[in-house]
Protein backbone atom coordinates (compact mmCIF):
# COMPACT_ATOMS: atom_id res chain seq x y z
CA UNK A 1 0.00 0.00 0.00
CA UNK A 2 2.82 2.31 1.08
CA UNK A 3 4.76 1.33 -2.05
CA UNK A 4 1.76 2.29 -4.21
CA UNK A 5 1.47 5.65 -2.40
CA UNK A 6 5.18 6.37 -2.90
CA UNK A 7 4.79 5.50 -6.60
CA UNK A 8 1.86 7.93 -7.05
CA UNK A 9 3.78 10.73 -5.24
CA UNK A 10 6.81 10.14 -7.50
CA UNK A 11 4.59 10.30 -10.62
CA UNK A 12 3.00 13.57 -9.40
CA UNK A 13 6.48 15.07 -8.75
CA UNK A 14 7.77 14.02 -12.21
CA UNK A 15 4.63 15.37 -13.96
CA UNK A 16 4.85 18.66 -11.99
CA UNK A 17 8.56 19.01 -12.84
CA UNK A 18 7.82 18.29 -16.49
CA UNK A 19 5.01 20.87 -16.60
CA UNK A 20 7.31 23.48 -15.00
CA UNK A 21 10.10 22.67 -17.47
CA UNK A 22 7.70 22.88 -20.41
CA UNK A 23 6.42 26.23 -19.12
CA UNK A 24 9.97 27.56 -18.77
CA UNK A 25 10.81 26.21 -22.26
CA UNK A 26 7.82 27.92 -23.87
CA UNK A 27 8.53 31.14 -21.97
CA UNK A 28 12.19 31.23 -23.03
CA UNK A 29 11.38 30.37 -26.66
CA UNK A 30 8.79 33.15 -26.80
CA UNK A 31 11.15 35.62 -25.10
CA UNK A 32 14.03 34.98 -27.52
CA UNK A 33 11.77 35.00 -30.57
CA UNK A 34 10.45 38.42 -29.53
CA UNK A 35 13.99 39.75 -29.10
CA UNK A 36 14.79 38.87 -32.74
CA UNK A 37 11.71 40.63 -34.00
CA UNK A 38 11.52 44.43 -34.32
CA UNK A 39 8.80 45.92 -32.18
CA UNK A 40 5.58 45.53 -34.15
CA UNK A 41 4.06 48.82 -35.22
CA UNK A 42 0.39 49.49 -35.01
CA UNK A 43 -1.10 49.03 -38.49
CA UNK A 44 -1.56 52.47 -40.07
CA UNK A 45 -5.05 53.40 -41.21
CA UNK A 46 -4.51 55.41 -44.38
CA UNK A 47 -6.82 58.40 -44.65
CA UNK A 48 -6.73 61.78 -46.36
CA UNK A 49 -4.92 63.22 -43.34
CA UNK A 50 -2.19 60.56 -43.79
CA UNK A 51 -1.65 61.91 -47.31
CA UNK A 52 -1.60 65.48 -45.98
CA UNK A 53 1.03 64.49 -43.41
CA UNK A 54 3.13 62.87 -46.15
CA UNK A 55 3.15 65.91 -48.45
CA UNK A 56 3.92 68.37 -45.67
CA UNK A 57 7.58 68.78 -46.62
CA UNK A 58 8.78 72.25 -45.76
CA UNK A 59 12.13 71.79 -47.54
CA UNK A 60 10.34 71.76 -50.90
CA UNK A 61 8.36 74.91 -50.23
CA UNK A 62 10.63 77.37 -52.04
CA UNK A 63 11.81 77.47 -55.64
CA UNK A 64 14.20 80.01 -57.11
CA UNK A 65 13.98 81.46 -60.60
CA UNK A 66 16.43 83.53 -62.61
CA UNK A 67 15.14 86.87 -63.76
CA UNK A 68 17.71 88.92 -65.65
CA UNK A 69 15.70 91.86 -66.88
CA UNK A 70 15.87 95.41 -68.21
CA UNK A 71 14.32 98.38 -66.44
CA UNK A 72 13.44 101.52 -68.35
CA UNK A 73 14.16 104.73 -66.47
CA UNK A 74 12.28 107.82 -67.66
CA UNK A 75 13.41 111.41 -67.25
CA UNK A 76 12.12 112.86 -63.99
CA UNK A 77 11.04 116.15 -65.54
CA UNK A 78 9.83 114.76 -68.86
CA UNK A 79 8.46 111.30 -68.07
CA UNK A 80 7.62 110.64 -71.72
CA UNK A 81 11.37 110.69 -72.49
CA UNK A 82 13.71 107.85 -71.55
CA UNK A 83 16.95 108.61 -69.72
CA UNK A 84 18.43 105.12 -69.86
CA UNK A 85 17.87 101.37 -69.87
CA UNK A 86 19.48 99.36 -67.10
CA UNK A 87 19.94 95.60 -67.19
CA UNK A 88 20.15 93.59 -63.97
CA UNK A 89 20.44 90.03 -62.67
CA UNK A 90 17.84 89.01 -60.12
CA UNK A 91 16.73 85.90 -58.32
CA UNK A 92 13.06 85.42 -57.52
CA UNK A 93 11.99 83.03 -54.76
CA UNK A 94 8.49 81.61 -55.00
CA UNK A 95 6.92 79.77 -52.10
CA UNK A 96 4.23 77.13 -51.83
CA UNK A 97 2.72 76.21 -48.45
CA UNK A 98 2.83 72.44 -48.56
CA UNK A 99 1.07 72.31 -45.21
CA UNK A 100 -1.95 73.95 -46.88
CA UNK A 101 -2.32 71.10 -49.37
CA UNK A 102 -5.38 69.01 -48.57
CA UNK A 103 -6.93 65.89 -50.08
CA UNK A 104 -10.50 64.95 -50.81
CA UNK A 105 -11.72 61.46 -51.63
CA UNK A 106 -14.51 60.92 -54.16
CA UNK A 107 -15.52 57.32 -53.47
CA UNK A 108 -18.01 57.19 -56.35
CA UNK A 109 -15.67 58.45 -59.08
CA UNK A 110 -12.64 56.82 -57.40
CA UNK A 111 -10.64 60.03 -57.53
CA UNK A 112 -8.43 61.56 -54.88
CA UNK A 113 -8.29 65.32 -55.35
CA UNK A 114 -5.23 67.21 -54.16
CA UNK A 115 -6.18 70.81 -53.44
CA UNK A 116 -3.19 73.07 -54.01
CA UNK A 117 -2.59 76.51 -52.52
CA UNK A 118 -1.55 79.46 -54.70
CA UNK A 119 2.19 80.10 -55.04
CA UNK A 120 3.47 83.46 -53.86
CA UNK A 121 6.67 85.48 -54.20
CA UNK A 122 8.73 85.35 -51.01
CA UNK A 123 11.78 87.30 -52.09
CA UNK A 124 13.25 89.33 -54.95
CA UNK A 125 16.97 89.90 -54.86
CA UNK A 126 18.73 92.11 -57.39
CA UNK A 127 22.49 91.80 -57.71
CA UNK A 128 23.74 95.40 -57.56
CA UNK A 129 27.07 94.68 -59.26
CA UNK A 130 25.26 93.27 -62.31
CA UNK A 131 23.83 96.64 -63.42
CA UNK A 132 24.65 97.66 -66.98
CA UNK A 133 23.39 100.67 -68.97
CA UNK A 134 22.34 101.96 -72.37
CA UNK A 135 21.92 105.74 -72.22
CA UNK A 136 19.40 107.71 -74.20
CA UNK A 137 20.27 110.87 -72.31
CA UNK A 138 23.99 111.12 -71.52
CA UNK A 139 23.33 113.76 -68.84
CA UNK A 140 21.65 111.06 -66.74
CA UNK A 141 25.02 109.37 -66.23
CA UNK A 142 25.87 110.92 -62.87
CA UNK A 143 27.47 109.72 -59.63
CA UNK A 144 24.11 108.93 -58.05
CA UNK A 145 22.98 106.72 -60.90
CA UNK A 146 23.65 103.34 -59.25
CA UNK A 147 21.29 103.96 -56.33
CA UNK A 148 18.47 105.25 -58.53
CA UNK A 149 18.99 102.51 -61.10
CA UNK A 150 19.06 99.80 -58.41
CA UNK A 151 15.73 101.03 -57.00
CA UNK A 152 14.22 100.99 -60.50
CA UNK A 153 15.49 97.44 -61.07
CA UNK A 154 13.96 96.18 -57.80
CA UNK A 155 10.71 97.93 -58.74
CA UNK A 156 10.81 96.36 -62.21
CA UNK A 157 11.50 92.84 -60.90
CA UNK A 158 8.74 93.13 -58.27
CA UNK A 159 6.27 94.37 -60.89
CA UNK A 160 7.24 91.46 -63.13
CA UNK A 161 6.62 89.02 -60.27
CA UNK A 162 3.09 90.31 -59.81
CA UNK A 163 2.15 90.17 -63.46
CA UNK A 164 4.14 87.27 -64.92
CA UNK A 165 1.85 84.24 -64.98
CA UNK A 166 4.61 81.93 -66.26
CA UNK A 167 6.53 82.19 -62.98
CA UNK A 168 3.51 81.06 -60.97
CA UNK A 169 2.53 78.40 -63.48
CA UNK A 170 5.98 76.85 -63.30
CA UNK A 171 6.12 76.99 -59.49
CA UNK A 172 2.70 75.38 -59.38
CA UNK A 173 3.67 72.62 -61.86
CA UNK A 174 6.80 71.83 -59.84
CA UNK A 175 4.71 71.64 -56.65
CA UNK A 176 2.18 69.33 -58.32
CA UNK A 177 4.97 67.02 -59.45
CA UNK A 178 6.35 66.93 -55.90
CA UNK A 179 2.90 66.13 -54.46
CA UNK A 180 2.45 63.36 -57.06
CA UNK A 181 5.85 61.91 -56.19
CA UNK A 182 4.98 61.91 -52.48
CA UNK A 183 1.35 60.79 -52.55
CA UNK A 184 1.14 58.48 -55.59
CA UNK A 185 2.96 55.51 -53.95
CA UNK A 186 0.46 55.61 -51.07
CA UNK A 187 -2.55 56.01 -53.37
CA UNK A 188 -1.39 53.03 -55.48
CA UNK A 189 -0.79 50.90 -52.39
CA UNK A 190 -3.89 51.68 -50.35
CA UNK A 191 -6.55 53.04 -52.70
CA UNK A 192 -7.09 50.40 -55.33
CA UNK A 193 -8.64 51.68 -58.56
CA UNK A 194 -8.21 55.35 -57.60
CA UNK A 195 -6.30 58.02 -59.46
CA UNK A 196 -5.15 61.47 -58.41
CA UNK A 197 -6.29 64.81 -59.78
CA UNK A 198 -5.38 68.37 -58.84
CA UNK A 199 -7.51 71.35 -58.02
CA UNK A 200 -6.44 74.95 -57.47
CA UNK A 201 -2.98 76.41 -57.18
CA UNK A 202 -2.93 78.13 -60.57
Amino acid sequence: MNKNKNGIVKIIIVVAAAVILIGIGIGLAYHFSQQDQPAEKEPEIVTMSTLEKIVNVSKLSTVKFVYNGVATVPNEEKPEEIDYYVSYNAEISVGIDFDAVYFEQDEEAKIIYAHMPMPYVTNVSVEIKSLDYIFENDKANTVTITQTAYEKCVEDAEKECKTNKDIFKMASDNARNAVTALAQPIVDEYFEGYHMEFKGGE
Partner: protein, 218 residues
Protein backbone atom coordinates in the same frame (compact mmCIF):
# COMPACT_ATOMS: atom_id res chain seq x y z
CA UNK B 1 7.18 4.64 -14.92
CA UNK B 2 9.64 4.71 -17.81
CA UNK B 3 6.74 4.84 -20.31
CA UNK B 4 5.24 7.77 -18.45
CA UNK B 5 8.57 9.70 -18.45
CA UNK B 6 8.99 9.09 -22.20
CA UNK B 7 5.45 10.34 -22.84
CA UNK B 8 6.07 13.53 -20.80
CA UNK B 9 9.37 14.18 -22.59
CA UNK B 10 7.69 13.75 -26.00
CA UNK B 11 4.93 16.24 -25.04
CA UNK B 12 7.59 18.72 -23.82
CA UNK B 13 9.56 18.49 -27.06
CA UNK B 14 6.37 18.89 -29.15
CA UNK B 15 5.23 21.92 -27.17
CA UNK B 16 8.68 23.57 -27.44
CA UNK B 17 8.64 23.15 -31.23
CA UNK B 18 5.18 24.67 -31.47
CA UNK B 19 6.31 27.63 -29.35
CA UNK B 20 9.29 28.28 -31.62
CA UNK B 21 7.29 28.19 -34.88
CA UNK B 22 4.75 30.86 -33.88
CA UNK B 23 6.92 33.99 -34.62
CA UNK B 24 7.83 32.65 -38.08
CA UNK B 25 4.17 32.51 -38.98
CA UNK B 26 3.74 36.01 -37.64
CA UNK B 27 6.71 37.12 -39.68
CA UNK B 28 5.20 35.90 -42.95
CA UNK B 29 1.91 37.56 -42.10
CA UNK B 30 3.56 40.93 -41.50
CA UNK B 31 2.93 43.76 -43.94
CA UNK B 32 6.31 44.38 -45.49
CA UNK B 33 6.64 47.14 -48.11
CA UNK B 34 9.96 47.03 -49.89
CA UNK B 35 11.50 50.02 -51.75
CA UNK B 36 11.09 49.47 -55.47
CA UNK B 37 13.44 50.65 -58.21
CA UNK B 38 10.52 51.46 -60.55
CA UNK B 39 9.02 53.72 -57.90
CA UNK B 40 12.39 55.35 -57.16
CA UNK B 41 12.84 56.08 -60.88
CA UNK B 42 9.37 57.54 -61.30
CA UNK B 43 9.99 59.78 -58.26
CA UNK B 44 13.22 60.97 -59.90
CA UNK B 45 11.25 61.72 -63.08
CA UNK B 46 8.77 63.77 -61.08
CA UNK B 47 11.60 65.52 -59.27
CA UNK B 48 12.56 67.39 -62.45
CA UNK B 49 12.45 71.12 -61.88
CA UNK B 50 11.29 73.46 -64.62
CA UNK B 51 12.64 76.95 -64.13
CA UNK B 52 11.45 80.13 -65.71
CA UNK B 53 14.52 81.89 -67.05
CA UNK B 54 14.34 85.49 -68.17
CA UNK B 55 17.54 86.71 -69.71
CA UNK B 56 19.22 89.52 -71.62
CA UNK B 57 21.58 88.84 -74.51
CA UNK B 58 23.93 91.74 -75.17
CA UNK B 59 25.55 92.48 -78.49
CA UNK B 60 28.27 95.06 -78.93
CA UNK B 61 30.51 95.43 -81.98
CA UNK B 62 32.93 98.32 -82.31
CA UNK B 63 33.37 100.46 -85.45
CA UNK B 64 31.10 98.45 -87.70
CA UNK B 65 30.08 101.43 -89.83
CA UNK B 66 31.70 104.68 -90.80
CA UNK B 67 34.29 106.52 -92.78
CA UNK B 68 37.70 107.74 -91.53
CA UNK B 69 37.27 109.07 -87.96
CA UNK B 70 33.49 108.95 -88.18
CA UNK B 71 32.50 105.47 -86.93
CA UNK B 72 29.55 103.74 -85.40
CA UNK B 73 29.26 100.78 -83.00
CA UNK B 74 26.52 98.23 -83.15
CA UNK B 75 24.99 98.01 -79.69
CA UNK B 76 21.75 96.31 -78.76
CA UNK B 77 20.18 94.04 -76.16
CA UNK B 78 17.64 91.26 -76.60
CA UNK B 79 15.33 90.38 -73.73
CA UNK B 80 13.90 86.87 -73.93
CA UNK B 81 12.25 84.10 -71.93
CA UNK B 82 13.32 80.50 -71.67
CA UNK B 83 12.42 77.39 -69.74
CA UNK B 84 15.25 75.33 -68.37
CA UNK B 85 14.74 71.87 -66.97
CA UNK B 86 16.99 70.44 -64.26
CA UNK B 87 16.86 66.91 -63.00
CA UNK B 88 18.35 63.49 -62.57
CA UNK B 89 19.12 61.14 -65.45
CA UNK B 90 16.96 58.20 -64.31
CA UNK B 91 18.79 55.65 -66.42
CA UNK B 92 21.68 55.81 -63.91
CA UNK B 93 19.47 55.53 -60.82
CA UNK B 94 19.71 52.31 -58.87
CA UNK B 95 19.02 50.90 -55.42
CA UNK B 96 20.33 48.13 -53.27
CA UNK B 97 18.98 47.06 -49.91
CA UNK B 98 21.61 45.97 -47.42
CA UNK B 99 19.86 44.69 -44.28
CA UNK B 100 17.84 47.71 -43.19
CA UNK B 101 19.75 50.27 -45.25
CA UNK B 102 18.57 51.43 -48.65
CA UNK B 103 21.51 52.63 -50.76
CA UNK B 104 20.27 54.83 -53.60
CA UNK B 105 22.72 55.44 -56.43
CA UNK B 106 21.92 58.82 -57.89
CA UNK B 107 23.72 60.80 -60.60
CA UNK B 108 24.28 64.50 -59.97
CA UNK B 109 21.46 66.77 -61.11
CA UNK B 110 22.14 68.40 -64.47
CA UNK B 111 20.55 70.56 -67.11
CA UNK B 112 18.19 68.26 -69.00
CA UNK B 113 16.59 70.68 -71.42
CA UNK B 114 16.59 74.32 -72.42
CA UNK B 115 13.92 75.95 -74.57
CA UNK B 116 13.95 79.56 -75.67
CA UNK B 117 10.66 81.31 -76.50
CA UNK B 118 9.69 82.15 -80.06
CA UNK B 119 11.97 84.98 -81.35
CA UNK B 120 8.87 87.01 -82.26
CA UNK B 121 8.29 87.42 -78.51
CA UNK B 122 11.76 88.89 -77.92
CA UNK B 123 12.10 92.55 -77.07
CA UNK B 124 14.93 94.62 -78.47
CA UNK B 125 16.66 97.61 -76.96
CA UNK B 126 18.90 99.44 -79.39
CA UNK B 127 21.35 102.15 -78.28
CA UNK B 128 20.50 105.54 -79.77
CA UNK B 129 23.71 105.90 -81.78
CA UNK B 130 23.96 102.28 -82.82
CA UNK B 131 24.67 101.23 -86.37
CA UNK B 132 21.70 99.65 -88.14
CA UNK B 133 20.70 96.18 -86.97
CA UNK B 134 20.22 93.71 -89.80
CA UNK B 135 18.31 90.41 -89.78
CA UNK B 136 21.68 88.67 -89.89
CA UNK B 137 22.79 90.52 -86.74
CA UNK B 138 19.61 89.45 -84.98
CA UNK B 139 20.09 85.82 -86.05
CA UNK B 140 23.67 85.82 -84.79
CA UNK B 141 22.64 87.44 -81.51
CA UNK B 142 19.85 84.89 -80.95
CA UNK B 143 22.20 81.95 -81.62
CA UNK B 144 24.72 83.50 -79.27
CA UNK B 145 22.00 84.01 -76.65
CA UNK B 146 21.05 80.35 -76.86
CA UNK B 147 24.67 79.22 -76.42
CA UNK B 148 25.16 81.59 -73.51
CA UNK B 149 21.94 80.45 -71.87
CA UNK B 150 22.97 76.78 -72.03
CA UNK B 151 26.39 77.65 -70.64
CA UNK B 152 24.95 79.83 -67.89
CA UNK B 153 22.13 77.45 -66.96
CA UNK B 154 24.44 74.40 -66.84
CA UNK B 155 26.72 76.25 -64.45
CA UNK B 156 24.01 77.69 -62.21
CA UNK B 157 24.97 75.99 -58.95
CA UNK B 158 21.96 77.41 -57.05
CA UNK B 159 19.47 75.75 -59.38
CA UNK B 160 21.52 72.55 -59.75
CA UNK B 161 21.77 72.19 -55.95
CA UNK B 162 18.08 72.90 -55.65
CA UNK B 163 17.27 70.13 -58.16
CA UNK B 164 19.59 67.68 -56.39
CA UNK B 165 18.09 68.44 -52.98
CA UNK B 166 14.59 68.16 -54.38
CA UNK B 167 15.25 64.64 -55.73
CA UNK B 168 16.94 63.51 -52.51
CA UNK B 169 14.19 64.98 -50.36
CA UNK B 170 11.42 63.28 -52.34
CA UNK B 171 13.23 59.94 -52.14
CA UNK B 172 13.78 60.33 -48.39
CA UNK B 173 10.08 61.02 -47.98
CA UNK B 174 9.26 57.90 -50.02
CA UNK B 175 11.36 55.74 -47.68
CA UNK B 176 9.84 57.53 -44.68
CA UNK B 177 6.40 56.64 -46.04
CA UNK B 178 7.45 52.97 -46.29
CA UNK B 179 8.72 53.11 -42.71
CA UNK B 180 5.45 54.63 -41.53
CA UNK B 181 3.25 52.13 -43.33
CA UNK B 182 5.29 48.94 -43.21
CA UNK B 183 6.82 46.86 -40.45
CA UNK B 184 10.48 47.52 -41.26
CA UNK B 185 12.39 50.73 -40.57
CA UNK B 186 14.88 51.52 -43.30
CA UNK B 187 17.65 54.06 -43.23
CA UNK B 188 18.82 55.77 -46.42
CA UNK B 189 22.24 56.39 -47.89
CA UNK B 190 22.84 58.23 -51.15
CA UNK B 191 25.70 57.26 -53.41
CA UNK B 192 26.14 60.22 -55.77
CA UNK B 193 27.89 59.39 -59.04
CA UNK B 194 29.34 61.54 -61.79
CA UNK B 195 28.70 61.23 -65.54
CA UNK B 196 31.29 58.41 -65.72
CA UNK B 197 29.49 56.41 -63.06
CA UNK B 198 32.21 57.10 -60.50
CA UNK B 199 31.13 57.64 -56.92
CA UNK B 200 31.79 61.28 -55.97
CA UNK B 201 29.94 61.56 -52.70
CA UNK B 202 28.31 59.24 -50.21
CA UNK B 203 25.87 60.75 -47.79
CA UNK B 204 25.73 59.74 -44.16
CA UNK B 205 23.14 57.13 -43.31
CA UNK B 206 19.96 58.67 -42.03
CA UNK B 207 17.04 56.86 -40.50
CA UNK B 208 13.78 58.10 -41.91
CA UNK B 209 11.65 57.84 -38.81
CA UNK B 210 8.02 58.75 -38.78
CA UNK B 211 6.82 61.89 -37.02
CA UNK B 212 5.18 59.87 -34.28
CA UNK B 213 8.39 57.94 -33.61
CA UNK B 214 10.42 61.15 -33.60
CA UNK B 215 8.05 62.66 -31.10
CA UNK B 216 8.19 59.53 -28.96
CA UNK B 217 11.99 59.55 -29.01
CA UNK B 218 12.18 63.18 -27.99
Amino acid sequence: MKKLSALITAIAVMLSCTACSTPQETETNQLEIVPQISRIRSICELAVMDCYYHNVAKSFEEDVEGFLWWTKDRHFWIEYNAVVRYGIDVSYVNISVEDDTVVITLPKARLLDCTIDDPKDFSYIVAKDSAAITAEDEKTAIAQAQDELIKEASGNSTLLDQAQQRAEELLREYIKGINDMGQKTYSVRFNIIDENGQSVQTSAESEETSDSETKAQS
